[in-house]
Symmetry: C2
């Protein structure tokens, strides 16, 4: 029996409501590209929302064609008989405002000017995304989500949901996330942004009209990202000091396997990802700071929450290490919220949240069934 959701098709939700953004600007209307897997039951109480992380999108599971080389980004997690079981749950994947894959973004036409937004597209935040996702959920006729399952930046959206709409979600599964970025996290984001902003092909964000892309900057940004997704140990195990041809080449061509890997990942990303999206995603990460948004201590902010929580971290994740997840757990416990915390032993760093791991998958499956 196949454990895939099979061939899927994305849909578009066109929302005519004005969306007021945290930055002060607003979108007169907007579109969200989304996918669903499984069936919404008659009580409409089996829906699970999966918000995406930095470079993710709405295509969570399945393939578009039989010949598709790769399935959706969390296909190991979502499907019939999988931890997020589409035989039981109605699963929703959605591309965020400002995203790379079809939702209203800098690549879209600004209805006011009839021109591509480009540089004038606003800075979007986690709050804005949750606001837009709520509209989609309402449009699908769902009053309360059974769960939101989010990893990394997706975990931040899950937290924000439980605060902004306490009655609209029963369970939050918050994975490899943090209540805010550290100075080091922001530093990595800023270097990625500088690489893009300073690329001669960026044209201050209006590169579309020049029929070009700031690929050099995007490459650097992505290579840098990959360092923070993998643990030092995982990199050593996978690449170590292995040389591509077994010897020093004494030039600046690729020499070590780790160089080859990073350059490959950088090239792949640069040809498919939108620079304005990347800039905005990193900014949304930087700006996610519940204490700043709600002008209260984290414990106070969490007093609104009604959902039960499963918080998961991975031992070797140095981007959002276990200590950051524990900050969330502590704030929840301060409010007597029903919270389960698990620190999963994994060597693969931040990437662990996307990879198969028996303990991790069993935990998600059990928690959703409980």
């Amino acid at each position: 029996m196949s454990r895939s959701v099979g061939i899927v098709k994305s849909k578009i939700f066109h929302c005519k409501d004005e969306l007021s953004l945290a930055c002060g600007q607003s979108l007169k209307e907007f579109e969200l590209v989304y996918e669903t897997y499984g069936k919404l039951n008659s009580k409409k109480n089996n829906a699970i929302l999966i918000p995406h992380a930095l470079s993710g999108n709405h295509h969570v599971a399945g393939k578009y064609h039989k010949a598709d080389k790769y399935p959706g980004w969390w296909d190991n997690m979502v499907g019939p008989g999988k931890p997020i079981d589409t035989n039981q749950y109605f699963v929703i994947g959605v591309n965020n405002i400002g995203g790379n894959d079809g939702s209203t973004s800098a690549k879209s036409i600004n209805p006011k000017t009839k021109k591509i937004w480009g540089s004038s597209f606003p800075i979007v935040t986690v709050q804005d995304w949750v606001l837009a996702q709520k509209k989609l959920i309402e449009y699908l006729g769902i009053n309360q989500l059974y769960a939101i399952v989010g990893g990394s930046l997706g975990g931040m959206q899950a937290i924000q949901w439980s605060i902004a709409y306490p009655d609209a979600v029963k369970k939050i599964l918050c994975i490899a996330a943090a209540p805010s970025l550290t100075a080091q996290n922001i530093a990595f984001n800023e270097i990625a942004r500088q690489a893009i902003l300073q690329d001669d092909n960026f044209f201050k964000g209006d590169f579309y009209q020049h029929h070009t892309k700031p690929k050099k900057g995007l490459r650097i940004a992505r290579m840098l990202g990959h360092i923070t997704y993998l643990s030092n140990d995982a990199m050593d195990k996978k690449f170590g000091r292995k040389l591509i041809q077994g010897k020093y080449n004494y030039n600046f061509q690729k020499n070590y396997e780790i160089e080859s890997y990073l350059n490959y990942q950088g090239d792949k990303f640069a040809s498919s990802f939108d620079a304005n999206t990347y800039l905005r995603m990193t900014k949304a990460l930087d700006y996610f700071d519940l204490e700043k948004i709600y002008k209260k201590k984290l414990s106070k902010v969490c007093s609104k929450i009604k959902a039960d929580y499963l918080v998961i971290s991975f031992t070797s994740d140095w981007r959002f290490p276990p200590a950051r997840s524990k900050e969330i757990v502590t704030a929840l416990l301060d409010n007597n919220i029903n919270v389960t915390y698990a620190e999963i032993k994994a060597e693969t760093g931040h990437d662990a949240f996307l990879l198969h791991n028996d303990h991790y998958h069993q935990l998600i499956s059990n928690y959703l069934r409980s």
Copy 2:
């Protein structure tokens, strides 16, 4: 009483000997810029060599003019009454081959072509540097150095000295170093190199003729370096999530203090440092691998060593963490070499080796006197 070496002047050592490099090429002749502090005694047995790290040079201590804003890069360590006491020792600072500050490098004239070397300047290694430094030491009439004190890449040169010339040095002080880079270390270097190599103003290394510099790439490289020099905790303590103007600006201008710091450091470096030097320094780091060079296990490589060793690491250094220093210690112990190991408690990350710390400075001072 002043504890400064005072006003200093750099000198040039012009070596007419051919220098055979590890890459297979050779330099017909070469120049090394160097400085000395203190006096060489009549027995010529009080000399201490201080090789520099990635962005360092020969200007270790003192000032060039009274109005000089900053002294040499290790002025807190070297001077009369300081841990490396110039009342006792004759201290030598030297700019390496390929370096930024006057020694033969890509900016020099190739004697064969009478043109600037530029892209054709060879890739240099730690072995090459030590070879050249040995020539300088001989020129100064010194048979045996009392000590070599090196931090980071400087520590690697110190190790290499003790293997290549076992009789030419009595004491090695190897600080915040490693016997080789990890995959993660190489990854950071490769991203820095890619930023420079892909800069439109790099002109494949021949930017001098175009009267320009790959400043954008150098900026990124330096910003990235700074992340690895500081610990996560030090960054949080110094910058945290502090905003320059106390509020979100919702654009891509500098918003957090950490962004301002990194951009400032990047700009400063890009206007003063040579891109070809940066590329070659990172490559020398990547290529320093005693097991690869000598085709033996580290313990076997260290069997040649006669010098006593002081190995120092810093608790919060994640670029070359204590575990890497312990690899060196273990290999030395395997050979019954007289080795002292100290792990200094410091919050400041890899940068700690350059900063004042009472325990650290006392340790260096005592070890040199012992």
